[in-house]
Symmetry: C2
């Protein structure tokens, strides 16, 4: 068992220790060989002086290829100039498994080559930093809801019907029961949960068989969806802004080192504090027009529209009350204007677009039945969902936050594919 | 927005408050009507004295059906004899949505009827208790690994090849790339993660299209899978026993109230502390023979075998070193005996069977290639996995724990279908 990790070296200064890991990089300077060891928790420069080790060890240090697994021995010393702040005055070196011709070298590689070798690419410092930040975001999301009395409700992945439209479904044969579909959202199930437990959240993988090749789409992505009984649209926005502040400020507090590896300019993240600006769809359309964009009221915003709108603000902006026609059937209409849905989208700054979509839900049985008919959805598949309105309907609201879009924004990534360990896209389902 | 919840009533004794929720039950006693309110956080008896409220309110209290959504007003007082320990001396009552003929009444219903109405069944006290314990177990699992330096690595759900055998796969068309399969285990991806980050865990839904109708099988279930570089089989068992102790003792500490609702005898759970007994497969076979079971060395254990073995112990038992033939291709062989795999299964007491399966992994490229051939698996699909042995292979181990089996055991359930919000089985994919 690994007893000492690089991240804990501060507790071992002056000690003679043994570490295991992989050769991340090496260089030579006459009578000195430098080996950079990585162990998954950090990097450590191990210094082999010709006079301090046997000739065999010195020769070995020269020969080993990148990503060879090794055991190193030596004395730990503080060395502010070295990576991580420590250095090993090495006395010994053993090979566990010698590697040669490791495909990913410090030189530049094309993205497709790196994605083909994703299982190895994950070992690079940049990818390690992203995975650590992703983990911290997941934990912040769960802590936020756990500490506020929400109950986790894992929704099913295999579902009998579509929830967000039928054109982008993955389907599979389900024994003798016909077809089942991979879930597009846990929301309908979260609503059942909210009627049982008051405040719930779902958090799991969701699927869209979208034939989209943009940098903002994955076919498989994780989504967290809180749902709260008795919350209206304003309560929903209050929850969303508190939530976003908590996630971003937690990462800023705990993950400075990783953000530095990614060379992320964090000044724009520091602004993510409530209150977030709230504008109506109508006001957003005005912004587009003032910026010379020919936008037709009633349409949904495209990526460029979102960027123009969000560029007006120094933090995420909440846009509420969209035309009902561009939104899902289950959203409640605005009592002030039947053409509007009580929806809210949150647009991230810096061109990262929509990261949250939510709404108050229709709580009238009759109106919901009418919407299902208007949308040509099969009412039989939704009878269970209609039961939530037949038996004790209450006002309720919720939203969904896309994990990979959030990771991408906070890390400052160019493409969602780096925000998840093994991305799935229209042209990729490997490795 | 709901401002006061039943679980927080101790902070409001003597205050006049308003609460919202659902009518859980009611009874009448001449000039008094009792309404049991539920709000997802608890139950509260609201007492309507004829003289204290208007005749309309008194009549309304009489008329409302189960699961009507309501708003109640009144003064909170401590009442040790009432459910939850508090009572509302009620002064007013408003209907939000009146319900009649709620399908699930306090009388007995058949299981299939309850599963058909799972979206409503979740509102009952027993199901609420199970969901809260499930949530606490999920949080304990994540806290355990988060606090020990593990990094979360979400594995893909859509995978290009089978990992645990090809007979139980759900498949879907994946654009122009042919078929993709729903993951049976995140392990292979966790191994890639362990080589990058040292200690990782995956935790997500996994799928088995098993035509099994037992009470211990779901087609969709959640699994947590830690994987640790440089851990051998013994380290793996150390981790597993510490993990199980942490989960069970955490639930015992935090969820006494819910365990009481379930009438769980917790004395047997209190024993779940390390060290757990460790016996070899050979010793387990001896136990079966001593108990008069005609068992052939080389077979895998069936449900009855597991129960006989686990009945010998007062806590979960770890059975290690199984015949390699009944285990997966990626398990390392025992250097002492080539016929054995360095596997470990943990059997829960009280007949709950296998809850953990794990092993040390084969770290030799040549042996792993040979196993893939022996198992008739397509080597091309595993090239990326073989790369983990080509480039810096190290000893490593891990295991998987099935969430629903663990929930079922800790809650003392008869069937896995109650351990997950919306169970998926061979004959059910609704609601």
């Amino acid at each position: 068992m690994q007893n000492i990790y690089i991240k804990d070296l501060s507790q071992h200064i002056g000690e003679e220790i043994t570490l295991t890991g992989w050769l991340y990089n090496k260089r030579s300077s006459g009578k000195i060989k430098f080996i950079i060891l990585r162990d998954g928790t950090g990097l450590l420069q191990c210094v082999y002086f010709k006079g301090n080790v046997t000739p065999e060890v010195f020769e070995l240090a020269d020969r080993l290829g990148q990503e060879s697994s090794i055991e190193v021995k030596g004395k730990v010393k503080a060395e502010p100039r070295a990576v991580g702040g420590y250095e090993l005055d090495a006395t010994d070196l053993h090979v566990i498994s010698e590697a040669h011709d490791y495909p990913i070298t410090p030189k530049d590689h094309g993205v497709e080559f790196l994605m083909d070798n994703r299982h190895l690419w994950l070992r690079s410092s940049r990818q390690v930093a992203i995975m650590r930040i992703r983990h911290r975001i997941v934990k912040a999301i769960r802590d936020f809801f756990d500490n506020r009395g929400f109950t986790l409700m894992d929704p099913p992945i295999l579902t009998p019907a579509a929830c967000e439209g039928t054109s982008t479904l993955f389907e599979t044969e389900y024994f003798d029961l016909g077809k089942a579909y991979l879930t597009q959202s846990g929301q309908l199930y979260a609503e059942a949960g909210a009627m049982a437990l008051g405040k719930v959240y779902t958090f799991g993988p969701t699927f869209r068989a979208e034939k989209s090749k943009t940098r903002r789409h994955l076919t498989e992505f994780w989504m967290v969806e809180p749902e709260v009984a008795f919350n209206d649209l304003n309560d929903n926005m209050d929850l969303a802004e508190e939530f976003l502040e908590y996630i971003v400020q937690t990462v800023l507090k705990d993950k400075q080192e990783e953000l530095k590896v990614l060379e992320r300019d964090t000044t724009k993240l520091e602004n993510v504090k409530k209150p977030l600006p709230r504008i109506s769809y109508d006001e957003a359309v005005e912004i587009l027009k003032k910026n010379g964009i020919d936008f037709q009221w009633g349409n949904d915003f495209g990526g460029t529209d979102e960027t123009v709108i969000s560029n007006q603000f120094d933090r995420p902006v909440m846009v509420h009350r969209y035309p009902a026609e561009v939104k899902a059937f289950y959203m409640k209409r605005d009592p002030q204007n039947e053409k509007l849905a009580l929806a809210v989208d949150v647009l991230a700054p810096e061109g990262y677009g929509e990261i949250i979509g939510g709404s108050q839900r229709e709580d009238s049985l009759e109106l919901l039945q009418a919407r299902i008919k208007e949308h040509n959805l099969p009412q039989s598949a939704f009878e269970w969902y209609l039961d939530l309105r037949r038996f004790g309907s209450v006002p309720h609201s919720g939203f969904g936050l896309g994990l990979e879009r959030t990771v991408s924004w906070i890390c400052g990534l160019d493409h969602l594919r780096e925000a998840i360990p093994f991305a799935r896209m229209i042209y990729r389902n490997t490795p």
